[in-house]
Symmetry: C7
Subunit: 104 residues, 7 copies
C-alpha cells in the first residue's frame, strides 16, 4: 500500500492493531565482509512502532495489548497489512497474530 503520509509517526493504529517495521538482515558478516544479496534472507523479526488501544470487550472495556512500542517481536510468515511510507516498508498486524517478544 502506498500513502502520502509524511512521517510514519503520524500513524495511530486502531483497535488491536500493531504497527511494526521488519528488521533488516545485515548485508555483511560480523567480520565485515559484504554478503551477496542472495545470502540475505527475509527476517521475521520486527520492531513495534505503535500499538492500538485494544479491542472492546462485551462490557465496553479495552482488552489489554500484548506488546508495547519499542518491543522487538517475532512476526508470522504470512499475513499482516503491508504499508509503504516513502521508501520504507511497514506492516500492521493484529495483536494476537504476533508470535513472541524478543528480549535479547
Amino acid at each position: 500500500m502506498t500513502t502520502a503520509i509524511k512521517s510514519i509517526k503520524s500513524l495511530v493504529p486502531l483497535l488491536d492493531r500493531v504497527l511494526v517495521q521488519r528488521a533488516k538482515a545485515e548485508a555483511k558478516t560480523s567480520g565485515g565482509i559484504f554478503l551477496p544479496e542472495s545470502a540475505v534472507k527475509d527476517l521475521n523479526e520486527a520492531k513495534v512502532l505503535a500499538v492500538g488501544p485494544g479491542m472492546l470487550d462485551k462490557d465496553g472495556k479495552r482488552v489489554p495489548m500484548s506488546v508495547n512500542s519499542g518491543d522487538r517481536v517475532l512476526i508470522p510468515q504470512y499475513g499482516g497489512s503491508p504499508l509503504k511510507v516513502g521508501e520504507d516498508e511497514y506492516s500492521l498486524f493484529r495483536d494476537h497474530e504476533l508470535l513472541a517478544k524478543i528480549n535479547d
Copy 2:
C-alpha cells in the same frame, strides 16, 4: 456502484459503517512538475465523511465507533463497498476494517 444520489452529504451510514473518500495522489511533484499518469499510484489513505451509529451489543447499546467525521484514516488494500456519486468515487468500510488514524 452507481447511484442517482445528488450529494454525498445525503448519505447516512448504517450500524458500524464508515463512508470515506480515498485521497488522490498528487499528479505533480512538490516542485510543480506534472507526473505522467503511470507514476501516480493508488493511495490507501482516505478521509472520513460520515460514520454510522455503531453496532448494537447484546444489551442493545451502541458499540462506540473508532473514528469520526473529518478523520484521515489508513484503509485496507482490499474490501469495502465502492460507491460512485456523479464523477466522484467513495467507499464504505466497517469500523473494524480501518487500520489506523493519520494525525499529520
Copy 3:
C-alpha cells in the same frame, strides 16, 4: 424468483428482513433527452417497502431494525434475494446488509 402474489403489499418480511425496490435510472436526461439503453446503469439505491420485526436476541427480545418503510437506502452490489411480482422486481435483504440511508 417468481410468485403468484397479487400485490407486493401482501408481503410481510420475517425476522430481520427488509423488502426493497431498486430505484430505476432515468432513461432521459434532466433536459428531457432520452438516453440510449446502454447509458442507463443499474443503481444501488432502493426504496424500503416493508421491514420485518427484527431478530430475536438471547433474551427473546426483538433487535431493533435500522430502517423503516419509506426510507431510501444504499444496497450492496451483491447479495439479497431477488423476487418478481408481475413485471416488477424486488429484493429482500437482511437489515445489517444495507449500507446507508439516503436523506436527500
Copy 4:
C-alpha cells in the same frame, strides 16, 4: 428424498424446521386458456403444513417460531430438504430461512 410415509400429516418437524408445500403455478390463464408447460414457472411461494417446536435457547427454553401451520410464505430460491410422499413434493426449511409471510 423418497419415503414410505402414508400421509404427509404424519410428519412432525423437529426443532426449528418448517414443512412446506410449494404452490403450483396455474397451467391456464385467468381467462381459462391452458398455457404450454414452458410458460409455467416455478413459484417460490409455499404453504406451511407443520412447524417444529423451535430451537432450544441456552436456558432450555424454546425460541418461538416465526410462522404457523396454514401460513403462506415466500421461500428462498435454494436450500431446504426436498421430500416426496407419493407423487407430491414437499420441503423442509429452517425457520430463519423463510423470507416473508404472504397475507393476500
Copy 5:
C-alpha cells in the same frame, strides 16, 4: 465402517448422537407383486435404535434430545456416519440433523 460388534444393541451413542436403521423399501407392491430392483428406491425414513445422553450446555447440564428409541424419523439425504454390523447397515446422526418424526 466395519466393526466386530456382535450385536447392535451393545452400542451406546455418545453426547447428542442418534443410532438409526434406515427403513427398507418394500420389494413388492401392496398387491403382492415383486418389484424389479430398479423400482426400489432408497428411503429417507429410519427407526431410532438408541439415543445419546445429549450435549453438555455451558452449565454442565444435558441438552434434551428431540427423539427417543423406537421413534420413526425422517433423515437427511446426506450426512451421518455409516456403520455395518454383520450384514446390516446403520447410521449415526447428531440430534439436530434429524428432520422430523413420523407418527403414522
Copy 6:
C-alpha cells in the same frame, strides 16, 4: 507420526483428547480357518488407552469427558491424529469425535 516414545503408557493426552488403539480384525474365522488378507477389513472399533482432563469451560472448570480408560468405542471413519510407537499404531481423537461406546 513416528516417535521415539518407549511405551505408549508414557503418553498423557492433553485437554479433551483421547488415546485409542484400533481393534484388529481377526485374521481367522471363529471356526479357526485363516482368512486371506483381502477379507480382513479395517475396523472402526477401538480401545481407549488414556483420556485427557477435559477442556476448560469459561469459568475455568473442566468439561467432563464422555469415555474412560478401558472403554471400547466406535471411532469415526476419518479424522484423528495417527501415532506410531514401535510397530503399533494408535490414534488421538477429541472426545466429541467419538461416536458411541460399545458394551458387549
Copy 7:
C-alpha cells in the same frame, strides 16, 4: 522463518503460544550402528522451551496453559509456525494444538 535472534532463550511466547524444539531421531541404533539417512524419520516429539502467559478470557483472566517449560510433548503432524535460529529449527504452537505430554 529466519531471524537474527542471538539465542533462542531470548524468545518469550505471546498469549497461548508454546515454543518447542522437535526431538531428533537417533541416527544410530541402540547397538551403536549408524543408520542410513533414509531410515531416520521425523519425530513428532518435542521439548517445550517456553510457554506464553495464556489467552485472556472474557473477564480478563489468563486461561491456564496445559504444559510447562521442560515438558516433552507430542506435536501434531501439520501446523505450527516454523522458526530458525542459527542452524537450529524450532516451532511455535498454540497450547490447544499440542496432543499429549510424554512422561517417560
